[in-house]
Symmetry: C2
Subunit: 421 residues, 2 copies
């Protein structure tokens, strides 16, 4: 019998877990990604806010599998899937036949029908997004230092984050700390302590996936850091001049979008039903409806728990799905079928607010404050890949803790101040 | 008496040394740079070749002077100097009056009248240059892995470096090591050991600023690493397909330019004589001819030694000039004049070839091999700014030494493979 060909599209948490769990399964695996690196997205906001540098949270995918002769890594963008012929096509025309296909292509940010907001309100999904937000934020302070018009200066020193999920809360907390505690010593013409950080959330509370008491604590911690929290009002417009929240216009030259997500186009490739966010509504064994050889996992899949509630779009969920699909594939290679459906086990939710507060919701156990912060920090270092990154991130955090100086405060990608969008 | 206003343009080695040496001099200093960071250019090639990450060799200028109340840092691009009115103008229209002006604006790469080569043969002066070269180099391997045409594959696996000064030699050595020793395990369709690294130098030997025996040693070390050294022939054309060296055409999809330098336009701003590379031909006290209040230092100045030979464009020379000008300014603030001209003291030349060879030319003492490599490494860590960077760079080098894995192998800035220039 010839080897079973598994094509995995996407080297995020789900895709890598699957490939890891297929070690020794006797499959011939091809892993395709548009990027040459796996990204540790939970810490991406720390690149955007000058704490970590890009190489500390990203690893070349092919380096991770250099010792796996059963794995071929390809850098390429999928443009189509033919589930009948069982072939995928890459942008450069290369075609890859498969026996089993796993789509783990993730999600991007969504603007709820207002894609015109994207240029002024970038989201945070890629390394480039992070360095773009970092550049805009740092340039706003630089421009304010040179600005003589007080109204323009105030708009430059107003930062708006749309969406109070973990990413929005984490960004707001660190930007406030940076402006109020780290930068004041460095500017001569402006007082960065007067910086406004606005966190706009359409729902009734911050961090809606956490227990109410933890939301309340997080909001209090944000306000203590000087973040203005606006709840229960929709953002109705974003321009280069500012943001409309409900009836109000807030002049704000820097806006970051942390509100919606939109799945990658896997549902369109397969022509199968998708939910409102574009996620493939998968079967109980995570296959696409009608295509038992095509699995869809991670942020690209709409999966329900036993109680009918959605499985959250977080790294542990994607990893559990990767592990499950590896077991199904192993069974199939062995000529068996695995009847057990995928079951999500929720291990908890974590979020940080600035440098010393965090909340953790394990369901029965709830933690907040510095204890939660330490648990958060240790958990994140544990989940990084490799000794080098663990060491580098721990060292950076320790350094900031001891010196109060952020290490990655670089404006890159654009030559000068004039050509920034 | 009002404070003496010193405007310094350029936060490179010369500019920073000057500002450091003016501590406590009672001047009111404004430091202007197009970038928000000081860059440790001698290690920039290590960012281009995936050894170091950007934040390890760059520091926000305003952070370096947070405790210097006499220093105002501005991010801005100078568009003109009026040496009669004693005012400089920035691109956004802001004007800065000065009592003393110091132009330390550096140099960029020059294509000897062939600027059309720049898109296909980028030089290495900025962090963006380094990440551009890193991206192109890594993408060439990725594309080769997907390529079925053997001629195209060979062209993708041929890297040409034009110019065998220290930067060219250092780039060639590391690219050869990467291709021949680090990457082979990671690719399944290509053999990266077949990669050609071509180093093209128009002069008769590599590293012409070193003693001949060290040049010979360096060439031998390069050839041992698998670098093809082409001497005594000019590059006559560069295209997306390859490079013409003398009569020969070498198909090569990745070209790096490490040949010529062109000074920044300081001579034009002042309308004073410049040498062929655009450097201001300064007086013996480093002032521009006719303008005793305008100093020009570093790569922007053409300075001669006592024997008439040129002062080299290296960091120690720029720093010595910064120190000298600080002394002149201190004397002037004290109402005195300093008669002593600038004197350059050459401390030696250093270059590395790959991971374990280096050459050092102290004039009377010449070192080569691993002893030189250790002296080189320790010297460079010593000259980095701050505990964090020293520690991070040392750790990275140690990690590569122990694991054989480079840590910053990221393709960034462009979404996919298709839109790379």
């Amino acid at each position: 019998m010839s080897e079973h060909r598994v094509v995995v599209v996407g080297g995020g948490f789900g895709g890598l877990q699957l490939v890891n769990e297929l070690r020794g399964a006797g499959a011939k695996i091809t892993l395709v990604d548009r990027r040459n690196h796996h990204l540790f997205q939970p810490l991406l906001y720390q690149v955007a806010t000058t704490i970590l540098s890009t190489s500390e949270i990203a690893w070349p995918i092919r380096q991770l599998y250099s010792d796996r002769r059963d794995v071929t890594t390809l850098l390429g963008e999928v443009t189509g899937v033919d589930p009948t012929a069982k072939v995928i096509t890459l942008r450069n025309g290369v075609t890859l036949p498969y026996d089993t296909l796993v789509l783990a292509t993730g999600a991007t940010h969504a603007y709820f029908g207002h894609d015109e907001w994207e240029p002024v309100a970038p989201g945070l999904k890629t390394l480039e997004d992070a360095t773009t937000i970092r550049r805009r934020m740092l340039l706003a302070f630089e421009r304010a230092e040179l600005e003589s018009d007080p109204a323009v200066r105030d708009a430059l020193l107003t930062f708006t984050i749309v969406g109070a999920g973990p990413t929005g809360v984490e960004l707001a907390g660190i930007i406030a700390e940076l402006a109020h505690h780290i930068l004041p010593e460095e500017f001569r013409n402006i007082d960065t302590r007067k910086t406004r950080v606005v966190l706009a959330e359409a729902g009734p509370r911050v961090l809606p996936s956490f227990a109410e008491e933890l939301s309340a604590y997080a909001q209090h911690a944000l306000e203590k850091l000087g973040v203005e929290v606006h709840l229960g009002e929709m953002v109705t417009n974003c321009t280069a001049e500012g943001v409309n929240i409900g009836e109000r216009f807030i002049p704000s030259r820097t806006i970051v979008w942390a509100a919606g997500v939109q799945a990658s186009p896997a549902a369109k490739w397969l022509d199968v039903p998708a939910d409102r966010a574009g996620r493939v509504v998968v079967e109980k064994n995570l296959t696409a409806p009608g295509f038992p050889d095509v699995f869809v996992i991670g942020d690209t899949a709409s999966v329900k728990r036993e109680d009918g509630s959605p499985v959250p779009g977080i790294a542990p969920a994607a990893k559990q799905q990767g592990t499950y699909v590896a077991r199904v594939i192993r069974a199939r290679i062995a000529g068996k079928t695995m009847a057990a459906p995928f079951r999500y086990s929720h291990q908890g939710s974590l979020a940080t607010i600035g440098k010393s507060a965090a909340i953790i919701d394990f369901g029965s156990i709830k933690l907040k404050g510095w204890v939660a912060w330490w648990v958060w920090g240790i958990a994140h270092i544990y989940f990084l890949i490799g000794t080098r990154s663990r060491f580098a991130v721990a060292w950076n955090w320790l350094w900031i803790f001891l010196s109060g100086k952020h290490s990655a405060r670089l404006i890159t990608q654009k030559e000068t101040m004039r050509d920034d969008g």
